[in-house]
C-alpha cells in the first residue's frame, strides 16, 4: 500500500536570467513589486520579476526601496563589524560601510553604463542604476545573513587581521551572488558580449576594496575618524601592514 501520495513539488527557480524566455513571459513576473519586502522576496526567489519591474515606467520607487534596504542592511552589518572594537566604532563602522558602498556605486555607475552601451546593451541609465541597486541589496542582505557568524567571531578573536580576512571572505561571497544577479540581468539587455561587464566588475570590486582602506579603521580603533592625507595607502599595502602588525602582536604575545 502506498501510504505517501505525491506531494506538490514547489516550482523550480529557473537558472537566473539565461535562456531564450523574454522577461515578463510568465504572468507571475509581471506582478508589480510594491514594497521593499516584496523586493527582497523577489531578488531571492524571482529575480526575473525584479528585472522586469525595473524596465517598467516608474521604477524609481522600487530603486529607492532597494537602496533603502541596502542602507539598512549595511548599517546592521556595520554594527556587527563595529562590535569588535566597541566604543565609537558602534556608530562609525556602520556609517562608513553604508556610505562607502553608496559612494563606490556612484563612482562606478558611469563606467557601467558606458561599458554596457559598448557591449550593445539596450538598458537605460535608470535601469542600470536599478540593477546596481539590486546588486547592493542582495550583497547586503547576504551580509546580514552572515552577521551572526561574523558577530561570534568578532567576540572570540583579538586579531584585527583575522577579522578583516573574515569580513573580506563574507564580502566576497556576497559580491559573487550580487554579480551573478547583475550578469543574469545583463544577459536580457541584448548585449553582444559580457566583456565590458566583466571589466566593470573588476573595477567595482577594486573600488570597494580601496574604499575599505580609504575609510579605515573599520574594525580596529584610531584617534582619527578617517586617515589623514599623509596616511593614505592602497589597500594591498594596508593589508600588508595589518598582517605585519598582527604577526608582531602574536610574537609579542609569546614573550
Amino acid at each position: 500500500m502506498n501510504m505517501n501520495p505525491p506531494l506538490p513539488v514547489p516550482p523550480q527557480i529557473p537558472p537566473p536570467g539565461y535562456g531564450p524566455r523574454p522577461l515578463g513571459d510568465d504572468p507571475a513576473e509581471r506582478v508589480p513589486i510594491t514594497n521593499p519586502i516584496a523586493a527582497i522576496e523577489a531578488i531571492l526567489r524571482q529575480p526575473r520579476r525584479l528585472m522586469y519591474s525595473l524596465r517598467q515606467p516608474g521604477a524609481g520607487g522600487l530603486i529607492a526601496g532597494m537602496l533603502f534596504v541596502a542602507v539598512v542592511c549595511s548599517l546592521i552589518y556595520g554594527v556587527v563589524v563595529g562590535s569588535f572594537s566597541g566604543h565609537e566604532q558602534w556608530w562609525a563602522a556602520p556609517v562608513k560601510i553604508s556610505v562607502g558602498l553608496l559612494i563606490s556605486t556612484l563612482i562606478c555607475l558611469p563606467s557601467l553604463y558606458i561599458f554596457a552601451c559598448l557591449s550593445g546593451s539596450q538598458a537605460r541609465l535608470a535601469e542600470m542604476f536599478g540593477l546596481v541597486a539590486g546588486l547592493l541589496m542582495l550583497m547586503t542582505l547576504l551580509l546580514v545573513g552572515f552577521a551572526p557568524v561574523a558577530w561570534l567571531f568578532s567576540q572570540s578573536t583579538e586579531h584585527v587581521a583575522w577579522m578583516g580576512a573574515l569580513h573580506l571572505l563574507f564580502w566576497f561571497v556576497a559580491t559573487i551572488f550580487g554579480v551573478r544577479f547583475l550578469n543574469a540581468a545583463f544577459a536580457h539587455s541584448n548585449a553582444r558580449s559580457s566583456a565590458g561587464l566583466n571589466t566593470w566588475i573588476v573595477i567595482f570590486m577594486l573600488v570597494m576594496l580601496q574604499m575599505s582602506a580609504a575609510l579605515r579603521p573599520l574594525i580596529g580603533r584610531s584617534e582619527e575618524f578617517l586617515p589623514s592625507a599623509s596616511e593614505k595607502k592602497f589597500f594591498l599595502s594596508h593589508w600588508a601592514d595589518c598582517m605585519d602588525a598582527s604577526y608582531k602582536h602574536r610574537s609579542r604575545g609569546n614573550d
Partner: protein, 248 residues
C-alpha cells in the same frame, strides 16, 4: 493510510530515521509545534547523551557540562545560520522558505543526534573499560583510541544526517544538482559556524591537569581557524617564531 495522514501523525523516531523523503518533505512544508519540539528533544537527548559519555572519562561533572554543551552547539549552529541558509537556498535554485530551510536543517541534525544518542551506551561502555585519566593521558593508546572512536562515530552520524538532508532537498527541489549545490553551501556555512562554536565550548574530553569547567577562562580569546593557521605556520616555518613555550 495516506501521506497526509503520515505527515500529521505524531512524530516518531522511526519515521525520522527511515528518512522517507516525501514524509520529511511534508514535515518541512508544514510547521507543527509538537513536531518541532520533538526534533529539538531528539537533539537535546541524543547529543546530550553522547556528550555525557564523552565527558564522563574526565569526571561526572564534565559529563554534565558536555551533555549540555553538545546539543547547545547544534541548536546554536542551526539558529545562527538560519537566515543565511534560507537566503542561499533560493539563490542556488531551491525555492523554499525560511521555515522550510530551518526545519530541514533541524531534521538532519535530529537524525545525526539520534544516531549519536544510539552510540552513547557503546561509548560509555568503552569509557568504563578504559583506565582512569592520568596526567600523561594524551600520550597513551587509550586516549588516541577514544579520540579516534569519537571521530568515527561523529563522522558516521554526520554523514547519515547529510545523506537524509540531501534526499530531502532533492525531494523539495525536484533536482539532484540543485540539492547538491544547496547541501554543499549549507554544509560549508554550518561547518564554519559549528567549528567556531565547538572551539569556544572547549573542553569536551577534558584534561586531567586542568580543572573541570563549563567554558575555559579564555574561551573567547581566539578562534578555531586562527589556531589551525598557526599550527600550519609552525609546521611549514623553518624557524618558528612563536612556538608555544619558545621565547623569541
Amino acid at each position: 493510510m495516506t501521506a497526509q495522514a503520515t505527515i500529521s501523525n505524531p512524530p516518531a523516531l522511526g519515521t525520522l530515521l527511515s528518512g522517507e523523503a516525501k514524509t520529511l518533505a511534508g514535515w518541512a512544508g508544514q510547521f507543527e509545534s509538537r513536531r518541532f519540539a520533538f526534533h529539538i528533544a531528539v537533539i537535546v537527548v541524543g547529543a546530550g547523551c553522547y556528550g555525557a559519555a564523552m565527558g564522563w572519562w574526565r569526571a561526572p561533572m564534565q559529563a554534565l557540562f558536555v551533555g549540555i554543551k553538545f546539543p547547545l552547539i547544534i541548536l546554536l549552529t542551526t539558529l545562527g545560520n538560519a537566515l543565511l541558509n534560507a537566503m542561499l537556498a533560493p539563490l542556488l535554485g531551491l525555492n523554499i522558505s525560511l521555515r522550510q530551510s530551518l526545519l530541514a536543517v533541524l531534521m538532519s541534525f535530529a537524525i545525526t543526534a539520534a544516531i549519536l544518542g544510539a552510540f552513547s551506551p557503546l561509548l560509555a561502555f568503552v569509557v568504563w573499560n578504559t583506565p582512569p585519566m592520568t596526567p600523561d593521558v594524551k600520550s597513551t593508546t587509550a586516549y588516541a583510541l577514544i579520540k579516534l572512536l569519537h571521530v568515527v562515530v561523529i563522522a558516521f552520524a554526520g554523514i547519515a544526517g547529510n545523506v537524509r538532508l540531501f534526499q530531502l532537498l532533492a525531494q523539495l527541489g525536484g533536482s539532484r544538482r540543485v540539492a547538491q549545490r544547496v547541501l554543499l553551501a549549507w554544509l560549508a556555512v554550518n561547518l564554519f559556524l559549528g567549528s567556531q562554536l565547538t572551539w569556544i565550548a572547549r573542553p569536551f574530553i577534558g584534561a586531567p591537569r586542568l580543572p573541570v569547567v563549563f567554558l575555559r577562562e579564555h574561551a573567547l580569546s581566539s578562534n578555531f581557524f586562527e589556531n589551525v593557521f598557526q599550527t600550519l605556520d609552525w609546521l611549514v616555518s623553518p624557524e618558528p617564531p612563536n612556538q608555544p613555550g619558545q621565547k623569541p
